[in-house]
Symmetry: C2
Subunit: 265 residues, 2 copies
């Protein structure tokens, strides 16, 4: 019965209670040996509710053209993105569940022209180590290029699963990224292979002729080429930025992978 | 120092700890008098993380064509929407903050043709009492019509603020709703006035000639009429459903107001 009541308290009230109970129960062992506690995650910042609102605004495309994570929300984003205890992996998996529910049990048409388009950065490959080291600060092209050149971005597990499911059903999978072709083609390809994305049909990067185009312009042009010049039908289009999913030739359906780390216009 | 350590524990670990400490500290008073605890809110359901993911999928338009709130998430949605302790009001206010940031300090053009289009149900007026009584179940046209006929939907506070801010800056404000004109025009108009939305420029409801059209078709047609026949420029377009914000003539910018209660295709 006491357990039932404890379960009936909401988290905020619990935290008030725990301030009192913690003093009684763990002050003695802590003062003797505080070291074992230090591996615990940093506290969610006060004001998490406001940062949750902000994150939902980002995902719903209400918050646009932000240059950095709002300073009060940096600890929140840090926690959210944590591979160990964060909600991020769950949200990506949930997005992939939606994609697989949409794909249903369909296999690709026999003509070999049914395709999916996946963005690369923070859709297939995670840049979390870079942005975390950068404290989720402003975009720095040179520093990002140095990071991407290493080719060590981890694969995002749920997206690896999506990738292999689509391939197994006969869909063409095109990876479409705004990364510069001339400098990053080789490390991107080896990174993708190492991260579990082997056997994609094409990796489309930004050639020198498309420098200066916005992401929406460049990606729309590449998708239009796939559709109009090559005859593919884009069944699904997946990206962590709304700019991956807007413009023209957006495909039969778009899916937004969560990303509260940065905004690409 | 102990307080600092307590603050450094994350919520999930805290809840484990509190199971133990609660037994020691509050079992005696509780067994004597448990009544005072009963006004506390119901517990967030286990699995809130999964329901949070689902809600974000809804807001990002990844989850489409769902007919009811998933059963395991009904307690979560109940808590989320609570006017007392829920995150919903904060999220709506956050969306309105984004709208006001976009509007900046601009006033409408002198020609009187700068307009905003706002949806009505769960954008301006809340149907929470109805859906809560309905346990967030499937849409029932007759029951909803009976509810809407009463004209007692509460106004959504942050949207009332937006409405008056836009009016104060000289924008035309059009309210665009799929409610049936012949049966619901009078109660909707009186409800809007009572809920704080007095002085809108036009309330556009679904006339008999538009029965059977999807929400996207009907609303696109009405917005096109405003733009092409009447010369208005839709500066902002606000709705709780993505179907309010897609199609054509969608306006310079769209804003999604949160709504995890139902989906309108």
């Amino acid at each position: 019965m006491v357990l039932a009541v404890a379960a009936a308290l909401d988290q905020r009230r619990l935290s008030l209670l725990v301030f009192v109970s913690t003093v009684f129960l763990i002050s003695a062992p802590l003062s003797a040996a505080s070291a074992p506690w230090t591996f615990w995650p940093p506290a969610p910042a006060r004001g998490d509710e406001g940062c949750l609102s902000w994150r939902v605004m980002v995902e719903a495309n209400n918050a646009k053209n932000w240059r950095t994570v709002p300073a009060p929300c940096i600890p929140y984003v840090y926690n959210y993105m944590s591979p160990v205890w964060g909600q991020y992996a769950r949200d990506v998996a949930s997005a992939v569940d939606q994609m697989l529910a949409y794909a249903g049990t369909d296999t690709a048409a026999d003509n070999g022209l049914d395709a999916w388009v996946l963005d690369v950065d923070d859709t297939c490959l995670s840049n979390l180590p870079y942005y975390q080291a950068n404290h989720f600060g402003a975009y720095d092209p040179a520093a990002f290029r140095a990071w991407a050149s290493k080719g060590i971005c981890p694969g995002i597990p749920a997206m690896v699963k999506l990738f292999w499911t689509l391939k197994g059903r006969g869909f063409k999978v095109f990876l479409l990224s705004g990364r510069a072709e001339e400098t990053l083609a080789a490390p991107t390809a080896s990174n993708l292979a190492a991260a579990g994305f082997a056997g994609y049909d094409r990796l489309i990067l930004r050639g020198v002729g498309h420098r200066g185009e916005s992401s929406v312009e460049f990606k729309s042009a590449m998708r239009r080429r796939l559709e109009e010049e090559e005859g593919y039908r884009i069944r699904g289009n997946v990206g962590d930025q709304w700019s991956d999913l807007q413009g023209h030739s957006t495909g039969d359906r778009v899916f937004k992978v969560p990303n509260p780390m940065y905004f690409v216009p």
